[in-house]
Structure formats: structure tokens, C-alpha cells
Amino acid sequence: MGSRGGEGVTSGGFWAMGGYARYVWPCFALAISILAWNLWSARRYHEQALLRAERALIMAGSERA
């Protein structure tokens, strides 16, 4: 365990990141945003593809009928 181990996340020192907070926290915030965007967009892409496939199958069915 490193020297930060005893400090705890509730102390101001942790959030200040030794004076580098304005560089460190935006990086982690952006990383989490990118992970979330990837999940959201992949899910949405699949759902839209499902919808398009459903519509195409209905159209193909009605054309045959």
C-alpha cells in the first residue's frame, strides 16, 4: 500500500491531488464519459439495427402478400 493509503478519500488532500486536481480530475471525468458514450452508442446502434431489420421484414412480408 502506498503513502496515499492512510489519507482517505474524504480528506481535502485527496481531491486536491497535490495541486494537480485541475489536470487529473478532468482526465478521469473524460475517461468515464467516453466509456459511457461507447456503451450508450453501441446499445443504440444495435437497437436501431433491430428496428430497421424488423421494418425490412414487415415490408418484405407485405410485398410477398
Partner: protein
């Protein structure tokens, strides 16, 4: 072994396998990333030179590695599709591109934010930074080229060709810090025999790397399912998939 390989060319097989893999990949990715974040932010000691700013490595390095890995996935899948005419290769390449581009943006922005306190500037036309920026343009180029053709088949082939040509940039990015004078630091983890980091710093980084790779696998599977459906819209097996 080869029958298994050939089954990967079957869209319904790929669609089913991707659906089964996704939750497991996501679960393990979440576990790794949560461990990496806690261990990297809370338990790893500050660097003796960079202080707490070094913690940016826990998102910067995995995203930079992933930007290269996603590109290689895209190029290899495109190459397989071009050489053996396996259409699933084009689907994998199309699914990997936006994921890779997003992680390249993350690598560039986090690198820039790390560069300001360490180098005194957000950006320098340094070999590593410039070649990584070219990688982002290659991703945009591949995606744009695929979308530019009315005939999807031609778009796929053109995009795969560009992705293959762009592979030349991958070793340039990797070795740029050795070939030229660079502000960017050299390898710290790649030297597995004797890494430049103590275990308390290294393990969270390796966990984040594994977590990002597993996350890439999960999102690739999700996107791939959409790609397969888009390409196989009128196939008979899709009826079952749509109802499920």
C-alpha cells in the same frame, strides 16, 4: 480448429456468440476498471518527480494502447475480408472504427492535460503526439470513406484498403520515442522483465489495461451485432433474432 474459424464467417453464429460474450466481458471489464481506479487513485503512492499528476497514466496509457489495438483489429479484420472475402471481416472493421477513434481522442486529450504541468504546454509537434493525431485522422478517414460510397460493398473494400495502408503508422507511433528526440517518456511497462514502476503503481495500470481491453471486446460485440443485422436485414435467420 479450422471449422471453428470458418464458423466465424457465419453471421448468425457471430450474432449469437457476440450476444453471449457481451455481459461477461462487461462484468470483468467493470471489475478490472473499478479495481484499477481505486488502486490507482487511492492506494498508489505519488510519483517522486511528477507527484499526483502521474495518476493520469491510469487512463492515458490504457486509452493509447487501446487506440493502437483497435486500429490493428480494424486493419486485420479488413485484411481478412479483402483476402478471403469473408464479409464478417468488414463488419468487425466497421464496428471497431468508432470505438478506436473515441479512445484515440481520450489518449490525445489526457496526454495534453498531462503535458501542461509536466512539459509546460498542452501540445507540441512531437513525433509521438503527431503520429497519434495522424491515427485519429486515419480513423476519421476510414469511417468517412466507408460512408461515402452508395454501394456498401465498395465502401467496405475502400475503407479496408485505407486501414491496411494506415498500419504503417502503428510502428511509427510505438517506436517514435526511440527513433526521434521526443518530449514523451519512453516505455515503462512494455519492459516486462524489468518495468520502471513499482508494483503498487504497476498493478492498477495493468488492471486498467485489461479492463479497457475487455470493455473494447464488449462494445465491439454490441456494435458488431448491429452491423450484422444491418448487413443481413433480409436473411431468414434475422426473423428469429428480431423476435427474440
Amino acid at each position: 480448429m479450422w471449422t471453428w474459424f470458418y464458423r466465424l464467417a457465419s453471421p448468425p453464429f457471430v450474432y449469437r456468440v457476440a450476444a453471449r460474450l457481451t455481459p461477461w466481458l462487461l462484468l470483468f471489464a467493470a471489475a478490472m476498471i473499478v479495481y484499477g481506479l481505486i488502486a490507482g487513485l487511492v492506494f498508489a503512492p505519488p510519483d517522486y518527480q511528477q507527484g499526483d499528476a502521474f495518476r493520469i497514466i491510469y487512463v492515458h496509457a490504457p486509452s493509447a494502447w487501446l487506440s493502437l489495438f483497435a486500429y490493428m483489429t480494424m486493419a486485420v479484420a479488413g485484411g481478412i475480408a479483402l483476402i478471403w472475402r469473408i464479409k464478417m471481416g468488414y463488419a468487425v472493421a466497421a464496428a471497431a472504427a468508432p470505438i478506436g477513434a473515441s479512445f484515440t481522442i481520450l489518449a490525445l486529450v489526457t496526454g495534453s492535460l498531462w503535458g501542461k504541468p509536466m512539459w509546460g504546454t498542452y501540445w507540441a509537434w512531437d513525433p509521438r503526439l503527431t503520429s497519434e493525431l495522424i491515427l485519429l485522422f486515419l480513423y476519421f478517414g476510414v469511417m468517412s470513406l466507408r460512408a461515402a460510397f452508395e454501394d456498401a460493398g465498395r465502401g467496405d473494400r475502400a475503407a479496408a484498403l485505407l486501414a491496411l495502408v494506415g498500419v504503417v503508422n502503428v510502428p511509427i507511433i510505438h517506436f517514435s520515442v526511440q527513433w526521434w528526440n521526443s518530449l514523451h517518456q519512453g516505455a515503462t511497462v512494455a519492459k516486462f522483465a524489468k518495468p520502471d514502476m513499482p508494483g503498487s503503481m504497476l498493478w492498477p495500470l495493468l488492471a486498467m489495461l485489461c479492463g479497457f481491453m475487455l470493455f473494447f471486446g464488449a462494445v465491439l460485440c454490441m456494435r458488431l451485432r448491429g452491423e450484422v443485422l444491418n448487413r443481413e436485414r433480409l436473411a431468414s435467420w434475422v426473423r428469429g433474432a428480431v423476435k427474440a
